[in-house]
Point group: C2
Chain length 344, copies 2
DNA sequence: CTGTTAGCGCCTTCAC
DNA sequence: GTGAAGGCGCTAACAG
């Protein structure tokens, strides 16, 4: 059922039908009613292909998940994608999804979306400190919004969670429990939030007069496995930490496993703190102390921001930083008499 | 840069340029070379909007994740979506993603995609025994493929994992370890795989001469929370099970938590088995015995199937059932002397 | 108030 | 080997 067919049924011109349905006020109420009724009855739906060619807009937004398949156990991205997709649909936009591990292939995906004119805008997730994607999109002048800030020189809308605040309150929490050797199971250095978090951690240490010790920092790639390995390394130090601050819940779960393997108890011998408050965090043993981020709300807000941007809003006015909230559970507890024995 | 502009640059007609680029052989090699070079140099890319209107195809495939935002911690869907998206792109198709909890809103999403002509085909995930979505798509004649079978009367391509086999070998494993009271932390009854799995479980019991006891079956909704609750109920039976077979890893994690809370040890007092082999399964304490499904490969294969279907392949020829593999870890072990004491 | 006309960018008969 | 013309479905400027 096309506009033309509908018009023929009604003995009207295509134009009139189009305008009647679009709600123009230069069409008589009688005609409009007749058109509406017929459209309803015959199940007319405008063909988006025609509308899109006409308007030059694809009515689609792109999202490239920055992880290779097989390494995306992170529900974070699913929540983000789903909430984005849902809210975008309310704005009449489709969400087009692909994935690619950071690197040349990832940039190729962006070029495909942008230069192949497959989307009107883009959402960038998990920003990096120096972010090629942002530089590219800014240069091309494509509307885009980011989950996370970046030091890449460009002005763009973003939502971020204040990782500095997060790690500061988490470290303060541990310090209050008596911990003075707090290991960091850190995220990759290239990620933008890594720096904010480290600096929050540092602030808490300084305020408590605890010396800065780089041997207490180990890096992982946000997977359980990498958290496990990083924790292993930290726990085998001569003077091991009594607490582990981890950059996400997955690494915290890996870290707890390492603690267990060392014959110690998370929350008793070694405290462990995560980040994200995934649903699973309530069900680990012991349940995980962690920082809660509002993922779902962020997705919806990012969708709104992108629409506002495309409608001409200023990027400067579309920048938000939210505070994470510390959720204390059993995996963090008072420091034990002395530091725990190293494993083995 | 449009075809017309490119043609003008070359002093050629649009037709010739179009055909030169499309590889028709009725264009001279010299012209073709000239056209190719200019297209390259000027960065010509065909506008998909024009192609789509012309061909009547949207070049997009829809996926509606059957879960409300906030309840989709299931990395399964992310893996599926990402692997689908990547492979579809190789076929020149975009993946359009939304989500909706099963129910009227979900059907509305499908209608939006299909009747709104926003996609050429659809992927249905987590099929249900009687599946409205399948009935709808079959009736509309839209090309679609499913992850999972269904009893809904329709012939369609699918990939499924043999849950009957899975739960049978898992139950056999537990029986070999001496368990005779094996509780089921089951998935929702409306899901198609639930029945296959229960029947595999039943077969194993029968083969071992263990009587069927419906009080050992509790239902959850695949979240940790529901697994926790179901396990609580089972463990508070007068004669509690010594092993818990769970329909996915999340519920298994919830179940292990319940076991712990009852002062018992997963893998010692009560064995726990999951399903999916999520990355996290290696890092729980104890690590989780579970059934491994090839999710990533399934996504890619589903994309291929859908393309084949749209190219005229018979649906009957596109139906595959894969075998899951039992991965034995520490959460399952020999039955303890007697049944464990109920908690509290 | 309604209809005619044109054009978005592409592809594909058909004619030369 | 190449060009002209038409049309996919829609909207909007412009007449009447």
């Amino acid at each position: 059922m096309t506009l033309r067919e509908l018009a023929r049924h009604l003995n009207l011109s295509i134009t009139t039908v189009s305008r009647a349905l679009a709600g123009y006020d230069d069409v008589s109420e009688a005609t409009r009613a007749r058109v509406r009724e017929a459209a309803e009855r015959l199940g007319y739906q405008p063909n988006p292909l025609g509308q899109r060619l006409r308007s030059g807009r694809t009515e689609a937004i792109g999202l490239v998940i920055p992880a290779a398949p097989g390494h995306m156990s992170d529900p974070f991205f699913l929540e983000l994608a789903a909430s984005l997709g849902d809210r975008l649909r309310e704005h009449g936009l489709d969400l087009v999804l692909t994935s690619a591990a950071p690197g040349p292939q990832e940039m190729e995906r962006y070029r495909y979306l942008v230069e192949g004119r497959r989307v009107d805008g883009v959402v960038v997730a998990r920003t990096r400190r120096h972010d090629e994607r942002i530089a590219y999109l800014a240069e091309k002048g494509v509307p885009f919004v980011c989950h996370g800030r970046s030091e890449t020189p460009a002005v763009f809308p973003y939502i971020d969670v204040d990782g500095e605040h997060g790690f500061r309150i988490a470290a303060e929490h541990l310090i209050r429990l008596g911990h003075r050797r707090i290991g960091l199971v850190n995220s990759p250095e290239e990620l933008n939030f890594t720096h904010h978090r480290v600096s929050g951690y540092r602030q808490a240490l300084e305020a408590a007069g605890i010396p800065w010790d780089t041997s207490l920092i180990e890096y992982g790639d946000l997977t359980e496995e990498s958290g496990y390995r990083a924790a292993k390394r930290l726990l085998s130090l001569e003077e091991p930490p009594t607490a582990l601050l981890c950059a996400n819940d997955w690494m915290a779960i890996g870290a707890m496993h390492a603690v267990r393997e060392g014959g110690m108890w998370p929350g008793k011998d070694v405290s462990v703190v995560g980040y994200d408050d995934l649903p699973v965090a309530r069900f680990t043993d012991p349940p995980l102390t962690t920082l809660r981020q509002p993922i779902r709300a962020s997705g919806a807000r990012l969708a709104d921001m992108l629409v506002e941007l495309m409608n001409g809003a200023k990027a400067e006015a579309l920048q938000e930083v939210h505070l994470p909230e510390l959720v204390v559970r059993g995996s963090s507890g008072p420091v034990a008499g002395g530091p725990p024995q190293p494993p083995g």
